[in-house]
């Protein structure tokens, strides 16, 4: 690869649904330790792109390479084991388990791998994992809610817990799909603060977002997607001044 700092390379990806070109000519290089935002109007193909990266959808052509591994054709759990974690647009959590258990499970996944038949060990004795999970919950400010059922949390708290579930795995790459969608301004700001805190730790992140406030306060680099193509690429300031971007946003659904 040309740039040794590139950790995720989306190479010439096309995705067609029947006759519809959802993604064309997508080429993205995401550098280690950077926060890379993908923005674009509704229907631009952001979620499709994320699903291709995470292996939920197979690209019609092209491939996604993470740290020398081709992700195309890999199962979600294999991709996670390579060090990619994902926060969903609608939080995917274990609604009928406690908050603490929700966070312990990813920690166990990190330690035990894809499958371990540890049925005679006691959960009570997993003190190390528990301490780690509690520490993580404290980090996101949810330690006081650890015994609640995850399903009964507020939407903002669910999202924060999901973030904790991803962070406890110390992923090399964190994918965030509209991390502030449907949140109040207050919750949004808390989330931004939290994400800034993580950024300081040098974790690579890809954020899909259409809230410009979030994007410009977090991103090192921004790619703008419109009608399945990348129309602009660069630092926040470069993108802000790009006339094509303004056109896409004014002419688009946004």
């Amino acid at each position: 690869m040309a740039n040794p700092n590139v950790v995720l390379h989306v190479a010439d990806v096309h995705k067609r649904f029947g006759g519809l070109h959802a993604l064309s000519d997508i080429d993205l290089q995401i550098e280690e330790g950077k926060t890379h935002a993908i923005i674009g109007p509704n229907g631009a193909g952001k979620s499709t792109l994320l699903n291709v990266i995470i292996g939920k959808l197979a690209p019609s052509s092209g491939q996604v390479v993470f740290d020398g591994n081709v992700l195309t054709g890999k199962k979600p759990y294999q991709i996670n084991q390579l060090g990619i974690a994902r926060v969903f647009q609608t939080p995917e959590i274990f609604a009928d388990l406690s908050v603490l258990h929700n966070v312990m499970i990813p920690a166990l996944a990190k330690r035990d791998g894809m499958f371990t038949l540890n049925m005679m060990r006691s959960l009570e004795s997993e003190t190390g994992i528990r301490a780690k999970a509690e520490h993580m919950l404290e980090d996101v400010g949810m330690l006081n809610r650890r015994d609640m059922l995850a399903g009964s949390l507020s939407r903002g708290d669910k999202r924060r817990m999901e973030l904790a579930m991803c962070l406890i795995q110390h992923p090399r790459l964190l994918l965030l799909d509209e991390p502030t969608a449907g949140m109040s301004r207050h919750d949004t700001n808390t989330t931004i603060e939290l994400l800034k805190k993580i950024k300081a730790r040098g974790m690579t992140k890809v954020i899909i977002e259409h809230d410009m406030h979030v994007v410009f306060s977090l991103a090192d680099k921004i790619s703008v997607l419109a009608q399945g193509r990348i129309i602009a690429d660069g630092t926040p300031d470069q993108v802000r001044g790009n006339p094509k971007v303004q056109e896409a946003y004014l002419g688009g659904a946004h």
């Binding site: 759990y77 609604a95 540890n118 049925m119």
Partner: protein, 380 residues
């Protein structure tokens, strides 16, 4: 030093063991304190505990578990026929065989989830049942059922020169397993089965199973390959079913294909639901209640009913006898079906949830009352 079991778990286990072992005493006033029925309580308790490991923890609704029960029975009887009348080798043999059988069927069925899984298990169980009745007659003895005869080889017994007089009966180290000996033999296995289930539920593995039930997608994006977990749960519950089937063969060494029919699979589903899916003791209680009422209600007839209602005026009594007679005797299944529908509609958490609701009412009487049942997510 890591804790082996939490205080609560230990208390639950001790309490459960005590309740089981003293059953002959406290069930006597209910007319159920005789070994034959108690053995069935133990056997179906094991079956239900095992079924719950799959359905209750993992959320996969199998409609074919009776197949494993039947396989366990056949395997045990074959062990009695070919090897020895001692029960222990038969139990081991049955558990191993049903576990292998569950491994194959589980491997295939778990490639799908949700209703497809249910239908696949149902299809496999029906296939097993049909085959047991037709082509596999040399193994299953078809409609007559597999039974012990005097001319069976019994290699091990023959080698040690152990002879017997009269009808061959399973035993353990020469001790006959009739009456209360049989009950305590089965009770020991139920307690062991309960203990293992308790350990599983309280282990990281158990938490993975619950997580699979809760959100399979998140599980995969968390880095777990869910299939081996679900398959392990399937095989374990298949082995439980095999164990239960083997115990039934020990207490009554005659194995028939009807044990594999899907109505039998449905029965264990009923037990688990009635008691409380996903709880440890619920399925056992469900099994006991169904077997108890089956025993009581199916023995009732018009004469007994007439005596029961005799305190009422004659006309009213006659009507009541007519009506109630539809629900007892052969009509017992009607009662069971109605009870089942009512439980699923009004008390999806089963008896255990009912107990919790009532306890909740007592704890904060006057306040808002019971909270509604948690809605489970579909397993797809």
């Amino acid at each position: 030093m890591p804790k082996f079991m939490s205080r609560n778990d230990l208390l639950l286990f001790a309490g459960f063991s005590l309740v089981v072992l003293t059953m002959p005493i406290w069930l006597a006033p209910f007319g159920a304190g005789y070994p034959d029925l108690l053995q069935r309580f133990m056997i179906f308790g094991i079956f239900a505990v095992g079924f719950n490991i799959l359905f209750g923890l993992t959320g996969y609704l199998s409609f074919g578990h009776a197949a494993f029960f039947g396989v366990g029975s056949y395997a045990a009887v074959w062990s009695f026929k070919l090897l020895t009348l001692d029960a222990i080798p038969a139990m081991i043999f049955a558990v191993v065989i049903s576990g292998l059988f569950a491994l194959v069927i589980g491997f295939l069925c778990l490639r799908r989830s949700g209703i497809y899984f249910s239908i696949l298990t149902l299809a496999f169980a029906q296939m097993s049942y049909n085959l047991a009745y037709s082509v596999l007659t040399p193994i299953t003895n078809g409609e007559t059922g597999l039974q012990l005869t005097l001319s069976d080889p019994r290699v091990i017994d023959a080698a040690v020169g152990q002879g017997f007089v009269g009808q061959p009966v399973p035993n353990i180290l020469g001790q006959q397993l009739s009456g209360y000996a049989g009950f305590y033999f089965c009770a020991g296995f139920l307690i062991l089965a309960f203990f293992i289930a308790q350990r599983i539920a309280g282990s990281p593995f158990g938490m993975m199973l619950k997580a699979i039930k809760s959100n399979q997608t998140r599980m995969q994006f968390t880095g777990f390959n869910t299939r081996p977990y679900a398959l392990s749960a399937f095989v374990i519950s298949g082995m439980y079913a095999g164990l239960a089937g083997a115990l039934l063969a020990v207490t009554d060494p005659l194995a028939g294909a009807e044990r594999m029919q899907w109505t039998a699979s449905g029965e264990v589903v009923l037990m688990t639901i009635l008691g409380g899916v996903g709880t440890l003791v619920g399925p056992v209680i469900g099994a006991w209640i169904i077997k108890y009422f089956e025993n009581i209600l199916s023995a009732l007839n018009d004469n007994i009913l007439a005596r029961f209602w005799s305190f009422l005026p004659e006309g009213v009594a006659d009507v009541l006898v007519k009506v109630t007679s539809k629900f007892v005797g052969d009509g017992w299944h009607l009662t069971l079906g109605l009870a089942f529908v009512i439980v699923v509609i009004f008390l999806p958490g089963g008896i255990m949830e009912g107990v919790r609701r009532v306890a909740g009412l007592f704890r904060r009487s006057g306040s808002s009352g019971a909270k509604t049942a948690p809605q489970t997510q579909p397993a797809e």
